[in-house]
Amino acid sequence: MADRGDTHYHVLKLNRWFLVSSGLLLLSVLWMVVDDAQRPWKDYQREFRRIEIARTEELLSSPQYQEMAGAEESLRAALQGAVVEQERHQADLARLADELTAAEGERFKVTEKAKSLKEHYANTLRIIEEHRVHEGNPSYGAEDLAKKFQELTDAELEKARTERAVASKKAEIAALESEVAAAESKLKAATKDLELARKKLQSLAPSDVQGKVANLIRDAPGLDFIGPSLKVRKVVLENLTNNLNFTVKSRIDMCHTCHMAIDREGFEDEPQPFTTHPDLDLYLSAKSPHPLNDVGCTICHQGCGEALDFIRADHRPMADADDPVGTGQWAEWEEKHHWHKQHHWDWPMLTREYIESSCVQCHTDSMELIAEDAPQVSEGYRLFERYGCYSCHKVEWLPTTRRPGPSLARWKSKLDVDWIASWVANPKAFRPTTWMPQIFHLENFAPDEVIAVSDFGRGREIKGQEWNDSAVASIVAFLDERVPATELPEIPLEGDAERGREVFRVSGCLACHNLAPYEGEEPRTEDPAFERAGENEHGPNLRGVATKIDARWLYSWILDPQAYWNETHMPDLRLSEQDAADITAYVMGDPDGVFTDVPDGWQVAPSPSDPEVLREQARWFFKRLGEDELDARFAGESPEHRWDDPRALMVAVGEKFVLHQGCYSCHEIPGLESVMPIGTELTNWASKTVDKLDWGFVADLMQKEHGWSLNEREEFKHYREGWLEQKLHEPRSFDRDKVKLPLDRLRMPYFAFTGEQVKAISTFVLGLRDDEVQLARMRPDAVQASMNAGLQTIRQKNCAACHVVEPGSVTFEHEGQTVTVHAELQPFSAEDKLPPKQSDLAGLQAEIASWEEATEEELEEVGFRLLEVEPTVGLPGQTIFVEPDAIVAVTPPWGGDFVRTVTDYYFFGIAMFDPEAAEDEAIYGWNLGEEGEVEDVDGKLRPYFDEQYDKIRWTFAPPVLIDEGYKLQRDWFYAFLRDPVALRRQMRVRMPSFHFAPGEAEAVADYFAYHSEIDWPRRYAKTLRYAEGMETKVQFQDPAIPWPEASTMRSGGDGLTIDELVAIANETPAAAGLTAAAVRGIERGYGPDIVASFPKVMSLGSALGFDLNAPVVRGSDLIQRRAPSHVTARGPFVEIGATLATDAAAVNCYQCHWHGGEPPAQVDSPLAWGPDLALTRERLREDWTEDWLWNPALIYPGTSMPGNFQNEPPQYQAFYPNSTNRDQIQSVLDWLYNYDRWPVATQ
């Protein structure tokens, strides 16, 4: 087109430009299409499809599926045969079909007729009735009505006949077609899985041309917007928002676009990104508590969930033990993915090391409940609490508020001034394991560093050493001034150190304290007191305390710890004054050289102080007063501040130092009770962006020092955890190479955490975030909340030091399967008095090795005793023997370390070394008795070294609390915890009187009750499986024999396998559909399976006549046997129960049991004593007591309580004629629960 000249533009030129630009546009569209087709995630999806195809093909060619395919052929042939056979009857079928049509037609006619007759009759009836009423003629129309009724009846009969005819025709047809139908359904059932796999393969990789083409087109570049098979997968989390630079938006996670199998089982061994998540029970699966569709990925893992690109997702190289900073993977990724850190994303993905930190953000109200699944962060939480981090660094939601350090309000009755000075200067020099951190003499006040120059820069230089010495001296002076002197009364009794050694041992001190030598020293004895066992570090290590404390103070402290420090964890053991005096004599006299043993280099001396340094410190602290005022005070010219007196000056400076260092945060100091803590609040610490952290020059220094590469430095510098770890390891290191005024320097003290502790605490602190994620916070229900509180109290009161709270377990190969059972290890041989200590597999192997070395024999079998019913294995109390190699794993019980301290004492006495003797010499047992006898509660000495371990353990050691909630009445448990009564009078170990905060005792009792309730389905399933496969001596007449009774009749058989149980279930209508996986889930206590499938297991149980007493019913523990109606009805039987229980020729309970405060006949054998029977009615749940009477060994394997009612034929007929064992137990129970109402002559 030519230029007409009437436009301002040149058309031809424009057209050219247009051509070029549309060409460019087309190109860029093409480029876009091509680029889009090549996006990395599509490659991953294609790769995954290949994997799936290969797997499906493999599955189809597996023997199982081949067999299925083989069966399919024969089933198809059978179907074909049936079809052919049916075709032979084609004529019959056709005829029948016609006849059916005819019959149906007739039925329709007849039915319609009947319908209309019915209506007609009803109408007529109404009209006639009306007539009758109006006309007063009751017989009007009777004939007509009768006729109509007859017609209707005939029609109904006719209708019924035609229906029968139709039905019979249908039946005839069905009979002819039945073969085909049966063959079809058989084929379908047998090839269900096969068909599924084939369909899947067909959809993934169509074998026909059409399908192939269709798939090509679907994913073709440019056309793949219609219905592609490769597509972005995402979850949109409406409630869980992301805060992106002041914009709050829904969180969208697309991670599973590449991580295709993350929520699918069976891809565990595939390489990333196709690996299955390591714990589907807990995460991602639909039935888990964290389903993918509700929580997504980035809430836990962080990183950018909307990125579909390896780098932009902010993946993190992983660190492991061999590669602590993850440089190996770092380099690998740089090469493979051109990986680099995303500098503009504030939430880099967490490495596996710190992943547990994410638990905190949602679980602030349930920290105790997640301990098992998140051990590292829970440990961090515990350390945070134990070391009292919260007292300087506020964390809003933290439930603990007590001051972690001892009160200083009365310190003068305990310590002397010089000791305090040395302690403040460096607490770890006296007790390396103390939680008190080191505050002075740290790197940013290095001894030779010039901290200040005196006299306003005109005087001499003051070095770090002097500065610190003066600070310590002034703090001590301040404390001395502030706290009034307290004089404790003299100890009123003469203490006996020998007896004190024993009281110290048996009353329970060693449950929380230990005497372990400090690092580097090996204990010279095998005595448990010298081992650090975790629980026995709840209180301080007592080595060296005799050099620290005052004897009168110790005596009063033992008798009443709260009087000195009202927030102490130390409970009141209710010891007698004599016991307290004896312990005091033992500790202060220290015959064993333990309590005066202090680390090398520990010295008690006052801290030096120089008036010039003091004055300089005062100048810094009181800078605002101005030079003149300060000089006036120094010269003694200010009447209220006579600082010319060095003591007055020290006190003034000391107070400033106490305030500056925040001593009052941990310790109660009179006058400073309500001063605010000095540390940064940590409630939202981890929401701080990395650039807000002061890194100082540490990264550079590190690089210089360690020669780290840039990457390593990046790793250190750009992640919060790097900063945290450094802070916890070397709290003052961010001051390095900086010039700072003395009072501006970092103040965080040095805790000497180990690497593991630092990791744990950092993990916890990294979880202190204030995201919108908090919307997903777990809000515990009433049960969970009280279990959480209960667990916290159990931990804080250290219940598990003495009591086994949860049993340990052994995992072993058994009949081709790996089985995990609750069990305790048994002695390796009859000559070994005690079982080996149960820790983990490595621990067991070490025990075996040392046994083999000592005996020069090879250990052929390891025995362990079952602690609960284990189908196909055995009953509680049975000992299972397996070869050492067959044991796959061992876990320790939770709690009960102190049991060994007790049993060791009764068997071997106190193992001590003679402080005078040379190394490796003179290890001997020390007891009160010359032969090794032990003092009993009645003050008599008795030998126990030849006794059986089980007897000592069950009689003298603290009781186990496994399933305690099933055993105890909750109200009694509350009361007992608050005010313990003497229950097992033979025990010298004391159940302490704890000072519970309101609600704490209740939470502990509730915890056990709820725990038993939650645990019950697991027990039920296992017991059912055992009971149904068990052989019994007698034929049951009664179908519903409760479990413990049935257990006494066992003659063989150890229960059904899961598959056998499931087979039975599927023949039982009420339980049909129960799967092996569900049973397995229930038996390992997996909540979702319990919710979904336990009702079926219960239905199966009741269908089979199985009965197991249920656990605690929430609410009350009403004792049925005390109801007036029950008592009236059972009156005579209560009498019988009383005689049966107490007669010497029958059960003879009083021989061993205390009763109403009266001692048993065995008053001279405390080893035989049983708990007071009078307490039964208020203490024990009826169900438990009944189970207990049936078969005590089922509950406490190894107990001395015999099975009293297991005789066949039933005994005691003289006392209760024609009675069964069950009758006898019922009458004894009636008596026990009405004990107070039936005084018995023998009482």
Binding site: E526, Q826, P827, S829, A830, E831, D832, K833, L834, A854, T855, G863, G877, Q878, T879, F881, F907, F908, G909, I923, G925, E931, G932, P943, F945, D946, Q948, D950, K951, I1136, T1139, A1144, A1145, A1146, V1147, N1148, Q1151, C1152, A1161, Q1162, V1163, D1164, S1165, A1168, P1192, A1193, P1197, T1199, S1200, M1201, P1202, G1203, N1204, N1207, Q1211, Q1213, A1214, F1215, Y1216, P1217
Partner: protein
């Protein structure tokens, strides 16, 4: 009700008499399954187990028998308070030690006679019972008071049941070991069941002597066990003519209250 009870007691007394049908109490129930052929030369191993120590221990007394605790045990008196756990005569002979001779191929048959461990006057009778592995042991209570039989095995199944006055119960023992039997109701009562797999075993008499007949010529290892004094080993040779020098094996005192192992 009282009348009923009284009648009942009479009935039980009758039953107890019937039960007590003179049980044969013996210490060893070991029966040869394959004794050496009649006429073959065999020897008898004899010997003594002696105490090894400076001072021969005096017979001990059970000091926890009190009138109240032992009520009903013995009409008008207290049970015998001799401590059966360590009995050494004036010449040092140890009673109730067990000797086992390791003879390869020797097999045990199960005893046809019932094996009875009796509880009589609140003591076990006998103190030590030798039984073949696989035997069933009856726990009989001939007393007028109830006992409980509480066994402390390492390998066999545990047993802890009340045996009411005048009744009995039984248990099969499938593994070889020495099992302590105790009564928690009368804590001084203690006995051992020694489950063995060889017929060549016996327990010593009051003077520590023993004799094991019918042993084919050869050299054998001998194991000695005593509940308090532990284990010892020895060797014995029976000459081709069946003679054999008397064995003397010494058992030392274990130190009470020592550390484990």
């Amino acid at each position: 009700m009282k009348l009923l009870t009284a009648l009942g007691i009479l009935a039980t007394a009758g039953a107890a008499v019937a039960l007590n049908d003179t049980p044969v109490i013996q210490s060893s129930y070991l029966v040869h399954a394959n004794p050496p052929a009649a006429g073959a030369t065999t020897g008898t191993i004899t010997g003594k187990i002696l105490f090894d120590g400076e001072e021969i221990p005096k017979p001990g007394k059970l000091d926890n028998i009190t009138e109240k605790a032992a009520e009903g045990c013995v009409a008008g008196g207290l049970p015998n308070d001799e401590d059966p756990t360590l009995l050494v005569d004036k010449d040092g002979g140890i009673k109730n030690a067990v000797i086992e001779v390791e003879v390869k191929g020797a097999e045990l048959a199960l005893s046809e006679k019932p094996i009875v461990l009796d509880q009589m006057q609140c003591r076990y009778e006998p103190h030590i019972t030798l039984v073949a592995v696989g035997s069933t042991v009856e726990y009989l209570n001939s007393d007028k008071v109830s006992h409980n039989v509480h066994t402390f095995p390492t390998k066999n199944e545990g047993f802890n049941k009340t045996i009411p006055a005048g009744s009995k119960d039984a248990q099969k023992l499938d593994k070889t070991e020495a099992i302590q039997v105790k009564c928690d109701i009368h804590p001084w009562m203690s006995a051992y069941i020694y489950v063995t797999d060889t017929p060549y075993a016996t327990a010593t008499a009051a003077d520590g002597s023993f004799s094991i007949p019918n042993v084919a010529p050869g050299t054998y290892k001998v194991n000695v066990w005593h509940e308090k004094l532990g284990k010892a080993k020895g060797e014995v040779t029976i000459a081709e003519d069946g003679t054999c020098t008397a064995l003397e094996i010494k058992l030392g005192e274990k130190k009470g209250g020592g550390r484990r192992r």
